[in-house]
């Protein structure tokens, strides 16, 4: 068995929130091992003073000193997990600054998280898996070219996607709403294979990702079962042809959003948010239903409107939608309402998530929602940049899986 990935924990509060056990378990389930960097008191004082962020909480001082010991190589680690209490301003400042500091001054992959007493190992699993993958599988993630014939399946919370690739080209696609997880996967695979005119036996390797990755992966005997943070990063820079240098990947999904700061195709820091439906693709689905248009028509409609014309009192999927309905009743145009919905989602992702990653150009939007032109436009306005949406962006996870799966062909 490969030795566990050593994850240094920098934290304040998890033991007292009753979630340390959840952190330990999440790490353990992906063959990771949480440890606390050991430093002497005199170094804590010295490192804290040198870092210069004069916080009051002793455990945050300790976290700062431990971060410094990691960056300066006095303590070895494979990855870093930063965790502090949700709603603590002091800790949020430290969390952000340490994440940035470690990301800038070392090659250590970092994930930061703010927990509540309700945080479970399940919530942390995808993040931990990404962290250990980046630490352990750098060789796999270095792949830039798809080889042979491979199949990638993304079993997402809203939709299931499949892609067949051959010799670095996409030759078959499948897409449908997720209903019964396995059946949806089988259907999209069949569709992709038919489109590609390839038989199942001809496939050299298979990769799965998304919420249903384990279930589907076992069902179709996948070579690679991988969380969507690393897979989507790879897929995004591959499709956008930005495999070298920095990039930022934004994926507004049906159930959660990912914002990933990527360097040479490998995620450096990332956030995954999934608490609020108002910041997800679901909000836009609800809006399009209310406007009586197909979700594919929402984007073009929004491009013709002005979000500023519609007052939104809330980001919430319930109360925010109510604002939109009220606006319609008060005579606002459907175009303006569509634009306001797109702006609302973009703004919420911007405020809640993009503050936690360093935005570096190019910004690549992927996932089904990247096809909603109005949303991409709203995000571009907020970030003051032109956002790239590569071809096949809605298949991002499936493409990333198919690309990475080709690393397993020779192993066979």
């Amino acid at each position: 068995m490969t030795p566990p990935v050593r994850i240094a924990q920098l934290s304040c509060g998890p033991e007292y929130s009753g979630v340390q056990q959840e952190i330990n378990e999440a790490a353990k389930s992906v063959n990771g091992e949480i440890f606390f960097p050991d430093i002497a008191l005199k170094d804590i004082i010295k490192d804290f003073n040198e870092f210069g962020l004069d916080v009051r909480s002793p455990d945050l001082k300790l976290a700062i000193a431990r971060a410094k010991a990691l960056v300066e190589g006095r303590i070895d680690a494979d990855a870093v997990f930063i965790a502090t209490c949700f709603r603590c301003a002091e800790a949020a400042i430290v969390r952000n600054e340490l994440r940035r500091y470690i990301h800038t001054h070392s090659k250590l992959p970092v994930v930061s998280y703010s927990f509540t007493e309700r945080t479970t190992a399940g919530t942390l699993l995808t993040r931990m898996e990404a962290l250990t993958t980046i630490a352990r599988r750098r060789a796999l993630l270095a792949r830039e070219v798809q080889e042979g014939i491979t199949l990638g399946v993304d079993s997402g919370s809203s939709t299931t996607k499949a892609i067949v690739m051959k010799d670095n080209q996409i030759i078959g696609t499948g897409w449908q709403p997720t209903t019964e997880v396995l059946q949806s996967a089988r259907d999209v695979i069949a569709h992709a294979l038919t489109e590609a005119r390839i038989k199942r036996e001809e496939i050299d390797a298979v990769g799965t990702t998304g919420y249903g990755r384990f279930l589907v992966g076992r069902d179709i005997n996948a070579d690679l079962i991988q969380e969507e943070l690393t897979v989507n990063s790879k897929g995004a820079v591959y499709l956008a042809d930005r495999q070298h240098g920095p990039a930022t990947v934004i994926d507004i999904g049906g159930m959660d959003n990912k914002a990933i700061s990527v360097q040479d195709g490998i995620p450096g820091t990332f956030t995954m948010g999934g608490i609020c439906a108002g910041a997800s693709g679901r909000f836009l689905e609800m809006t399009s239903k209310r406007l009586g248009v197909d979700i594919t028509e929402l984007g073009p409609l929004a491009m013709k409107g002005f979000s500023r014309n519609v007052p939104m009192n809330s980001y919430c999927i319930v109360f925010g939608t109510q604002s939109l309905v009220n606006a319609l009743a008060a005579g606002s145009s459907r175009e303006d309402v569509a634009a306001a919905a797109c702006h609302s989602v973009a703004e919420q992702v911007f405020e809640q998530q993009l503050q936690e990653v360093d935005i570096k150009e190019p910004v690549i939007m992927v996932g089904g929602t990247s096809l909603i032109e109005g949303l991409v436009h709203a995000m571009g306005e907020l970030l003051q940049t032109k956002i790239m949406v590569p071809k096949h962006s809605q298949y991002i996870g499936a493409v990333g899986s198919a690309l990475l799966a080709s690393g397993f062909i020779r192993e066979r």
């Binding site: 440890f35 606390f36 960097p37 050991d38 300790l62």
Partner: protein, 152 residues
Amino acid sequence: MTDYVPMRPGTVTRYVVVESLTITPSELAIRAYEISQGVMIKETCFGLAINGEEQAVDSLIAKLRTMEPDHIFVKDRGFLPGDPRRCRANHGGARPGFHGIEFETAVLPYISHGLTEIRSRPYSDIPLPESPPETKKLDVYKLKKIIEAQEP
């Protein structure tokens, strides 16, 4: 979710920390082993952790204290000696509380000195320490000096 079954419920654990020029932690440990009766003793980085029935632990500690009363310090501990949940061997680093003890250990010589001194000095000779949260009033003579210094 796993059920949790506590080890040795009803017992107490206390740390015994020695801050002395004449006794080392290992000498303290040897003495403790000699006189221990049915208690668990573990040497730690800064002294001993002793676990057992409260009365037995306290009576052992009282005997140990006679070795050098002003230089042996005691505090409670929540965990059993060597509990894997707290032991640094299992976590790469010391538990956070360790650094607190590390800090106070540096202050212990002053406390030892104080313990010895107050036996021979009457209270009336010992001024109260300044009450930290109160800001001291400006001395009237100092104020006068400042006023005078302001004059051209």
